[in-house]
């Protein structure tokens, strides 16, 4: 047993971390049932079938599973309904349990006036990783959704500018936080180096900036000016940083 778990860590370097059991693990309900949460009851009345399981985790955190197809309606209602007022999007993220079937998207909400938390989750099947964007409900979702897209490959329908955020714009190895993604990346070290060195100046800019540069008829500014004609040279010759 201990030997297995020890090997588990080493194997992952090349193959991605070992996934969980095929079933997504569920937290057992406490004895005597889950205490009522006003929002969950209201959600059931309002949306009925679209509201799934209600879980209590870590003692006092309420989790509600929803139908991803109605995510926008439900989340928008949670913010705007006078009795709910979840006006603060604390977090938006995703979890890949490595079961090969679903990725879970998580919205963590807080209501500043009512001082209440709720966590909304939706299971998205791997072959249809799409859910509505809440960009126009909470602007905080802008970068958070880009991050989930970048690292998990979940598409947010209606996000106006869904592009990579932490990884480079020309990254082609996939979505790194998926469980099937190896820690060292999908390409060999040599190929990764070669790709990093052959980035063009356009690779450092988003589509909006490229359009602006075309419109005003200006060359794109260098990304790192010192020591060469761009990132390629300064990395290749090892100058630049050393001068400082």
């Amino acid at each position: 047993m201990s030997n297995d778990s020890f090997r588990k860590g080493l194997e992952g370097l090349d193959s991605g971390p070992a996934g969980s059991p095929r079933e997504t693990p569920r937290v057992e309900a406490p004895e005597g049932g889950i205490p009522a949460h006003p929002t969950v009851d209201a959600l059931r009345i309002q949306f009925g079938e679209a509201i799934g399981l209600h879980e209590l985790v870590a003692g006092d955190e309420h989790v509600v599973y929803i139908d991803p197809a109605r995510a926008f309606q439900i989340l928008h209602w949670l913010r705007d309904e006078p009795g709910q007022q979840y006006d603060f999007l604390q977090d938006l993220t995703a979890v890949d349990y490595g079961n090969g079937t679903t990725i879970q998207v998580v919205w963590q909400l807080w209501s500043i006036p009512n001082r209440l938390n709720i966590r909304i989750k939706a299971d998205l099947p791997l072959d249809a990783l799409e859910v509505d964007s809440v960009y126009y409900v909470w602007r905080a979702a802008d970068w958070l959704e880009r991050e989930v897209w970048d690292l998990f490959g979940v598409t947010f329908r209606g996000h106006p500018d869904l592009r990579r955020i932490l990884m480079p714009y020309n990254y082609t190895e996939g979505h790194p936080l998926r469980k099937d993604f190896p820690l060292r990346g999908r390409y060999s070290r040599a190929e990764q180096t070669q790709r990093a060195l052959s980035m063009t100046i356009e690779d450092h800019y988003s589509a909006i900036e490229l359009a602006v540069a075309r419109r005003i008829g200006q060359d794109l500014p260098e990304v790192i000016v010192e020591g060469g004609t761009g990132l390629t040279d300064s990395v290749g010759m090892g100058s630049g940083a050393g001068d400082i």
Binding site: G9, P17, S20, P25, A58, R115, W138, L166, I216, I224
Partner: protein, 432 residues
Amino acid sequence: MATRKRTVVYDVRRHPELGAGGGIVSAPIVPVEGEVASDYSENFSGEHMLINIGPQHPATHGVLRLVLELDGETVIRCIPHIGYLHSSFEKLGEYRDWNQIVPLTDRMDYLAPLIYNCAYAMAVEKMMGVQVTERCKVVRVILMELDRIFSHLLWLGTTGIDLGAFTVFLYTFQERERIYNLHESYTGARITTSSTRIGGMMADLPAGWIEQLQSFISNFPRTLDEVETLLTNNAIWIGRTQDVGVITAEDAVNFGLSGANLRASGVAYDVRKDRPYYDYESYDFDVPVGEHGDIYDRYLCRMEEMRQSLRILQQAISRLPGGPINVSDPRVILPGKTATMNDMESMIHHFKIVMEGVRAPVGESWFSVESSKGELGMYVVSDGGSKPVRWRVRGPSFINIAALPHMIEGALLSDVIAVNASLDIVLGEIDR
């Protein structure tokens, strides 16, 4: 095209009390009505330009890169690019057992490492249902409040430099050095503290540490007063900060701002008050709330937060109980050396923890604390193994900096530096 101009530069009416004491207020700085604005439009209107600030630029406070479209000196569009410091901490965490993740946390926010250490340990403990000892709670409160001061001091010094006040930097870094010494004498490291463990701390406080802390507490207010003398009524400081980078309360909530950035806009949301942890409800402290949502109010909020942190520190020291710092639960804490060598059961626990790591039951927790930069959320998910399925950090800076374009579009280029500094970001945690 419509000309944008700087609306207000200096407003004496806003702080009538400043006029009573000093003569500084009577010296107006920049005339802004009329002529200046029209000069801008005549000379520069229509000449758009795309410029790059960063990633290697001292005023971006790390490897942040901002691409600005300028019309003369006015910012038309700002597009931040991040990821230059991406270290894939969250991915790496899935290959580490629960205790091995602690060193990753302080490398995210190296300006307040202990808050990150504590927040992570607290999230995992909450998920596992481990209750830490009373002494551990108070020690963690002390460490977190100390690092709040630590981080605010860096913010104060570097923002001062960005706006041309070099002296403040020297004052604040002298005080930071004292906190570095406190870090070092407790954890052995100045920045990468890695001091928490699941179920307690790596060690108890060393002898004389509390006395060292007390001497810091008694000397620090003087420096704070001196810095306030340098800045609060300073005409240049006021001119550069008041009504610059304004965000309304409604927008601030919608953008998910937290910490002093949110409270400066008039929203009283502080995790320590709204969802108290570690008996924060029993400490007597106030949360400063601003009114205008500009740089100046963020400055005032942070200055007051440091004073309030001192109050909490004093109360925590006076109530610091004795007793063990670690829980006695053998599932999470290594048994003592003597017990391990003499007692079969302890040896088994020791072996299990060393070889397999702490095992967390199936479950998850999204737990947040009020860090120096805002609400720091830690989301941990376990499938019952000794490694997390997911470890996610809701970095306050990541969400705060996303609101930067909203605050500076339409402002002047020089304000970009000021607003960016006022948000108090740390790129280690933005890029993770």
